[in-house]
Amino acid sequence: MTDLTHLQRLEAESIHIMREVAATCDNPVMLYSIGKDSSVMLHLAMKAFHPSKLPFPLMHVDTTWKFREMIAFREKFVADHDLNLLVHINEQGVEQGIGPFSHGSAVHTDVMKTQGLKQALDKYGFDAAFGGARRDEEKSRAKERIFSFRSAQHRWDPKNQRPELWNIYNNRISKGESMRVFPLSNWTELDIWQYIHLENIPIVPLYFAARRPVVERDGMLVMVDDDRMPLLDGEEPEMKMVRFRTLGCYPLTGAVESTAATLPEIIQEMLLTRTSERQGRAIDKDAHASMEQKKQEGYF
């Protein structure tokens, strides 16, 4: 028998992490963002517990500004696989009319995403939440544990992380505290795409190039996904061949011009491009260490 490939090793590690949570946590949940990493995480979970159904629900924190195709994909996938999905929307934020156009990306993300997530975790009393973050995404993530402790206020304390040795994870918490668990910690962006390719994992079509209506704003190609987007003077949606490298709220997620319409073409384009994945996200452009700060405040 030949040695395991690196993808087989990564797969086994992720499955081990998920089973550990299922076996030792009282009330876990898997955060599902509909993106490619979430799709891989969910696929691995179905492998980990087969032939059982997932021993925990999925939860989507919906900011109400996701691409329409994302929501359609979510609904179909959940129905096809008979999954238990909870959708949480920060209703207070909706009542206050919070949105990225009216309040800017920082306020919108904080209220609809970060606060929404905390509300949902408190509401259901989850003691562990899986997230699809990877260590190669961003500097502060590179130092986060796989089992990452959160105080009762959902705060991450980067200087006081528990030592994490071998594959023995300490997930002991007191009442009100919780764990964020990152089974994809050691995957890279290329690993994710390769695995999607090898395993034929369905992903949202927005990742593939197609002609879509976009306007260029502040150097970012924004797709006009619905009529909530106010057009500025002189802005006229233009049909362009574009695709998305990451998915989030449509007004905050820049498209890239591309003709890559198949997985190998996407991977090819990714390997030959010279900018990192998070560049398309408005959220990282704030001051230094912005992600670290957001995480301390409870952002996933």
Binding site: M1, D3, L4, T5, H6, L7, R9, E11, A12, I15, H16, R19, E20, A22, A23, M46, K47, A48, F49, H50, P51, S52, K53, R135, D136, E138, K139, S140, A142, K143, P158, K159, Q161, R162, P163, E164, L165, W166, N167, I168, N170, R172, S185, N186, T188, L190, Q194, H197, L198, P264, I267, Q268, L271, L272, T273, T275, S276, Q279, A289, E292
Partner: protein, 641 residues
């Protein structure tokens, strides 16, 4: 950038551009290596990793732009690119210019994919370094050519070896600052080899380099023609770490029992060693029940075979009871089961190890309670000499005997890390306090059998017409514990009850006269009192104890020694000011003047009970009333038989 890497990069880009499918197939079959970089602070670890990422073209344009920007603002290389800024990700670290936590980095060449654990150099972060070492196969130990082998170099080499890393690469860095002098390199190699004779590396490779200038990292460079070995990258690409775990006997620690319906009962876990196929005979431990493998069930269909490191689900031909914490093993070669073992531990917390205190012990698939029964010695990691000690402080390594409340399936760490490793968790704060590696099991456990006798606790208690119980009085010095306990005992005696009072006076002078007042001794003091009380309970007595017993963990330990309802915690709650006014033995006075150290309430903490069974507020009641209150509380359950 030199010719070599350009050629490599161009070839890869061409392949990606011309035949992406061929490229993907090639990627799929790459091998995998996890390594750790360590060494003393300022030896250039972060710079080395930054250089590896940069030279393997893993830095994107936007990251490069921000790196150039940062280098000018806060760099230490006079405006030139400061590679360390790439990896020192946390804001606090960038400000202080040090690395305070393990960072995991990813890069690949055409032969291998790598995960690097970049670990801190400062002594206070040795535990983070051990964390990085636990999952690595190779250690790259950096040495500053100007400074040679330092204390921290020895410490890190010892710890990576202790954690089972067999391959060391000694990277003698900053050769540019010693004029690329071969003699400097040779002197350091000699010094390290002498030190490493006491360690257990199967290979040690020495490479002279400059991470800053790029010599002998990816490219040879032209400064050190006297060195004819491989570059660091060439060596990491070729080092063979296949540790034959697949050839060892089969071990599956059961992590999760998979029961979707009555027809399917699977046992899920990650194979720790060996291979398995349908039809193989197995034995489940510790139960010793046997069966055969029916199938290896996966989402993609049943497998014909599975090997070490795969996460699988097994079904068996017989319905036998197996749960999380058990180990499914090859029938002929089975691991041992024990509740006592010897292990090396690395202490990872500010609060020192207290032998005798119960901690949670978590192995790969089981969590039990256990204590260190004996700290045999500490290891001085500079000289590797053994030293006596009562406790282990942060970052210290010791050899200990353990006693567990439930047996575990194990193998010596050096034979099988997956079944020989464990962590220790503080029961109250839930933090990880130590990492342990089992050497071997202790046989005593199987040789000492508790004699089951016909005259037992129930019979003895019945004869005395009472229910045995420990009334555990806790509180500050001079709070009134002994006074109240004395009164309670008198009142019980007057009613014909059989009692015994244990207090400092009759214990400290005899049984515990070898103990002082440092934390470790206080724990041992209480443990012995607990054991004596337990014997007296067995004799059917009502036991009263009057000890400050300042730590929750020890009171809980005694509670756990006994059966339910045999332990009643009585909190004599007297404010510190009142105790100090009373001061019958003049101890508070001495503590105030500094004559006595470790005095509870002053320089040693008192942890109040969270939920005492009886809470006496002595500020507003007499000792007599307090004694009556205690008796009233226990009347129905313990005295009315």
């Amino acid at each position: 950038m030199t010719e070599n890497s350009k050629t490599y990069e161009t070839a890869q880009s061409d392949l990606i551009a011309s035949d992406i499918d061929a490229y993907l197939t090639e990627q799929e079959h790459k091998s995998f290596l996890r390594f750790i970089t360590c060494g003393s602070v300022d030896d250039g670890k972060s710079t080395l990793i930054g250089r590896l990422l940069y030279d393997s073209k893993l830095i994107f344009e936007d990251q490069l732009a921000s790196l150039e920007d940062d280098s000018k603002k806060i760099g230490t290389q006079g405006g030139e690119i400061d590679f360390a800024l790439l990896v020192d990700g946390l804001a606090a670290e960038r400000e202080q210019g040090i690395t305070i936590d393990v960072a995991y980095r990813f890069f690949a060449t055409d032969k291998r994919k790598f995960i690097v654990a970049d670990t801190p150099g400062h002594e206070q972060y040795t535990r983070n370094m051990a964390t990085g070492a636990s999952s690595a196969d190779v250690a790259v130990i950096l040495i500053d050519a100007r400074r040679g082998v330092l204390t921290q170099t020895r410490r890190h080499s010892y710890i990576v070896n202790l954690l089972g890393i067999r391959h060391a690469v000694v990277a003698i860095n900053k050769m540019d600052l010693v004029d690329y002098d071969q003699e400097v390199f040779q002197a350091i190699e000699k010094e390290f080899r002498t030190f490493a004779e006491n360690l257990d590396f199967s290979s040690i490779h020495f490479i002279p380099m400059s991470a800053l200038k790029g010599d002998n990292i990816m490219d040879v460079g032209d400064h050190m023609n006297w060195y004819d070995g491989p570059t660091l990258m060439a060596h990491l690409e070729s080092i063979d770490v296949s540790h034959e775990r697949a050839a060892q006997p089969f071990r599956l620690p059961v992590q999760w029992v998979n029961r979707p319906n009555l027809d399917f009962r699977g046992f899920s876990g990650t194979i720790a060693a060996g291979t398995i196929k349908p039809g193989d005979p197995i034995i489940a431990l510790p139960s010793g029940k046997t069966s055969h493998v029916k199938a290896i069930a996966t989402y993609d269909g049943d497998l014909g075979q599975a090997m070490a490191d795969q996460a699988i689900t097994l079904t068996l031909t017989d319905e036998i009871d197996i749960s999380r914490g058990d180990v499914i093993s090859e029938f002929d070669k089975r691991p041992e089961v024990t509740d006592q073992f010897q292990a090396k531990i690395i202490w990872m917390h500010d609060q020192p190890l207290l032998p005798g205190r119960p901690y949670l012990i978590k192995t790969t698939n089981k969590t039990v309670t256990g204590e260190v029964t004996e700290l045999k010695y500490k290891v001085n990691v500079n000289s590797l000499e053994h030293e006596a000690g009562k406790t282990l402080e942060l970052n210290e390594v010791g050899l200990c005997n353990f006693n567990l409340d439930t047996p575990v399936v194990y193998e010596p760490y050096r034979d099988n890390a997956a079944l020989g490793a464990f962590i220790m968790i503080d029961k109250i704060t839930n933090v990880t306090v130590a990492a342990g590696m089992i050497d071997f099991g202790l046989r005593r456990a199987t040789n000492v059998h508790w004699q089951a006798v016909d005259v037992n606790k129930d019979v003895r208690a019945e004869q005395k017409r009472q229910k045995p119980v420990v009334l555990w009085f806790t509180g500050l010095s001079a709070s009134g514990k002994s006074t109240i306990a004395n009164l309670v005992e008198k009142k019980l005696h007057a009613r014909g009850k059989h009692t015994y009072l244990l207090d400092g006076d009759n214990v400290r002078h005899g049984l515990n006269r070898d103990l002082g007042f440092v934390d470790a001794d206080r724990v041992e003091n209480i443990r012995r009192v607990g054991e004596v009380a337990k014997l007296m309970i067995d004799a059917g007595l009502i036991v009263l104890t009057a000890f400050i017993s300042p730590f929750r963990a020890e009171r809980r330990m005694v509670r756990q020694m006994l059966e339910d309802h045999e332990f009643v915690e009585v909190f004599v709650d007297t404010p510190l000011e009142i105790c100090e006014q009373r001061d019958p033995k003049g101890l508070y006075k001495k503590a105030r003047s500094g004559e006595i150290k470790n005095f509870t309430g002053f320089d040693s903490p008192y942890e109040q009970p969270e939920r005492a069974d009886i809470h006496l507020h002595t500020g507003n009641m007499s000792a007599e009333d307090a004694a009556d209150a205690v008796i009233a509380k226990i009347e129905e359950q313990y005295l009315s038989t």
